[in-house]
Symmetry: D2
């Protein structure tokens, strides 16, 4: 099986590397060519344009957002025209439900398959092949890409035959994470103002009822007030919560907590802090409580 | 060491039983005497009034709320007069910061020690000696009661020398749980309206980033819409979130998510659903989204 | 001056009639031709297509929403091609800031003028020539259309040289009205549950600090629980609050009250009540408080 | 009729002066004696203690809050013991529903009458006899005090036979005002960030649909960003919204907007801005939008 891989950012670089290490025949493409060099050393082929990467059985995309993916797929000479009939586009980016529907239709019209398989995990998990993958698509298409998913993730959960459903589950998961962060933000402001160290509270939670890595990672970031450099920027969080609310708006599902989160994240952006890690929601709560930074 | 135990409700019964099984000399008291019988069969002594249970080295209380504990401690002939000088009151109920401060002062004035050690866990964890305990109090007092805590819980985290701090951490933890529940409620309403089964979403979360029992338990309750009988009633959740906001109000700490939670729980009560499990927050979100009950 | 008028709905019919009564030479167009008859009897000319109504000095549009206006203006043979160079498009609909910007550019490119002049007031005010008009546009263009505005409204406030600014002021005004409604909704639920008649509270407010027609009208609707037929439907309110939040989103302005309003209105829609008057926000608050309908 | 008047703050001083000017026999008392001098010059008698002011037919109280009024009424030698049987306590302060109920019972037990008649209006309205009065109490008691109310206000609206109902209407009215303020705060932040002057928006609202003094006063304060000195301090607003939510909590009435307001006001207090005028809610919205102070 010939595999194309488009998008060698923080996440994509590690994912593509794992495919190569698994012995697959991989051709990579990135707009900024320099990022492809590390992959070349691992014996991946490097394509000089998108079309070249798409001359394969399965082309994987891992891009920043709706705009970036749309541009790659729908442009002239782009993915949807270069991928052969019968080929599969395996989209692993965090994109909107609306775009997933649009791509499903576009690929079907071109006689191609489309699988949405967004991931949970940060760049270190991508590099280690430890991503959690949520997939949606036609059963036979998923079956064909399963070896690739196995090389990149620690598990794949198929949620639906509709690609868009995987995207909805993914962005809803990000909403769950943002909610956890806001809860930590408010609780930490409260205990700190009462004179209890933030780390004490975080430890009390993560050594008992919330004994799971994501709570530890986020709690520790908040306790240490290390919001920069961002693991996941507030601006991206704002975008993702916006995708959730866009989907909720289309379906008339009121989400008061979702709205609260977007408002808080919008405030970070408005105050010029969009590049901080999105755990900086805790910075807002501390500020609102009249707390100075520091222990 | 002679131990008194006051309050044999769903939680207290299991906790007292574990003390007896650990070989301690335990005298129990409950307002409704019938509940003491099971303990009697385990070889606990049964006191006929509070005072009798307090003629000991350490008296443990596990009661429903501030009012119940205040009544037991501060009434004439109550705990604070019956407990000998040098004795310790080990309070394990979920009570307010304000009451913890009041009791700390009252016991100090009477030459007694006071330790706050509220717990995380449901009745089954209490029965199994698997509670998570969060403790606050003078180091020597905590040292004295440690064997008792070891018999009741799987771990004890000492957060402060001030008893009240343990109570603040405990109720803040309940706020974290309520936040998780509201996040699940909104996300499940969204995915359900998009045609994805609730259980699929819950599994996608709890097999990946939120792979921890509390998420599984709460998520499964919401997916199955089994809000009755309540494991933890909405009315109690409303009370606990109220305690958090009372503490936040006293310290001028804005908690927008806390306020959202109280409002949602108040609505459950107003609609006559205070006896449902507090995961019925998901019932509200489903209703607001125009979803009928059922799969 | 020759005037075209497109859109003879509840609002537009009264506005066009006032232009005719003021002695102006008016040609009207409506997609549903029957609505033009009443105007014909007043001596307006009736155009058979949009282009015919646009062969004039100033063409006024009063349409339901962005989509309707876009279709009329930007379609082939539509307003922007039929209106002569030097002509003015006077847009009085409640539309988005984004569309106002787009139309400003489109008309400028075609050598035409564009004035945004949305209105406050219900159909009865439109019929009586008592609308409040908020205008934005180039000073000379506004000067030319001023006699038309005078015929339709009781006052015109020019807020900016940018048409879009008038639209932002208009939708922000609708946000102010929605906020007033939500405040009434919650306060009325509170006093009613305390046993005080809703009308008593409304009278207490509107005979004192809020002695102004809009408070009386909205308060009385809420007190009488007459949500149907709608004066202004919840679905339209939801759309307008959405326009506000779209503008706020583009500028990164957090609006927690705006988000609250959208969520409440979305709930009305989700529950199948989008056709009720938007004062039915009070129905939600009453329901949440466990109040039955009726006195 | 002999009249006592207790509480000569910013509001009380003007109210008492109007009673004297109306020819009534008035004895005033204030804890800080110096404030009584201006009244003495108008020919009011000055009492040296509360009891002396209560030796009358009707004693009026105008005090800061629940604590101040409780102290005056319920202390030894206080109002409830000094006022003769058959006398009436006319309470005009903004107090809680719970305290109104307590005082109703206490006075009834002492054979005295109790009327609650809180007011809308700032100190200038108090001085001009232009207050809006909302009254609750037994009809005959209200009849007896009506001449006094007429001397102090421009209108009296009797809402109920229960004194507490007048207090609930009053604090709910303050909630309505706070809601208006928050709406202005968010809308002004939005239009300012779009480049429209705040004053333009305020004028657009207050010359049209919201053409009423309270909107003008509050809008102009916000447009000019003059938050100090406070006409009505954020700390008092926070207290009053707290009274509303206390009443709502007792009746299980969810008030999401009420909670939002309390949270915003709490943030002002936490940031050390409790002494600013409560229109400083607009300062928060401007800050959150990343706007600098100034035009």
């Amino acid at each position: 099986m010939k595999v194309g891989f488009v998008g060698l950012g923080k996440m994509g670089a590690g994912m593509a590397a794992n495919l190569v290490k698994a012995g697959l025949d991989v051709t990579v493409y990135n707009r900024t060519a320099s990022k492809a060099r590390a992959l070349e050393q691992l014996r991946a082929r490097v394509a000089s344009d998108v079309g070249e990467a798409c001359a394969c059985d399965v082309v994987i995309t891992m891009l920043a957002d709706d705009n970036a993916l749309s541009a790659i797929v729908l442009q002239q000479g782009g993915l949807s025209t270069s991928l052969p009939r019968g080929g599969i586009h395996l989209s692993m980016s965090t994109i909107s439900v609306a775009l997933a529907e649009k791509l499903t239709a576009a690929h079907a019209a071109a006689g191609q398959g489309f699988v949405s398989a967004p991931v949970f995990g940060r760049p270190d998990a991508a590099a280690a092949g430890k991503l959690f993958i949520v997939a949606g698509g036609a059963p036979d298409a998923i079956k064909r890409v399963q070896p690739l998913l196995d090389a990149m993730g620690q598990s794949t959960l198929v949620v639906s035959e509709h690609p868009r459903d995987a995207n909805l589950v993914k962005i809803s998961g990000n909403f769950m994470i943002a909610s956890m962060t806001q809860a930590f933000a408010e609780a930490v402001a409260l205990v700190r103002k009462a004179g209890i160290p933030a780390q004490t509270f975080v430890d009390a939670m993560t050594s008992t009822i919330f004994n799971v890595p994501i709570y530890k990672n986020y709690g520790n970031l908040i306790a240490s007030e290390k919001y920069s450099p961002a693991g996941f920027a507030a601006s991206l969080g704002h975008k993702d919560v916006g995708l959730v609310l866009e989907a909720a708006g289309a379906l008339n599902v009121p989400m008061p907590l979702g709205n609260l989160l977007r408002e808080r994240l919008a405030r970070l952006l408005a105050e010029g802090n969009g590049e901080l890690d999105w755990t900086a929601l805790a910075l807002l709560s501390a500020t609102d409580a009249g707390l100075a930074r520091g222990p």
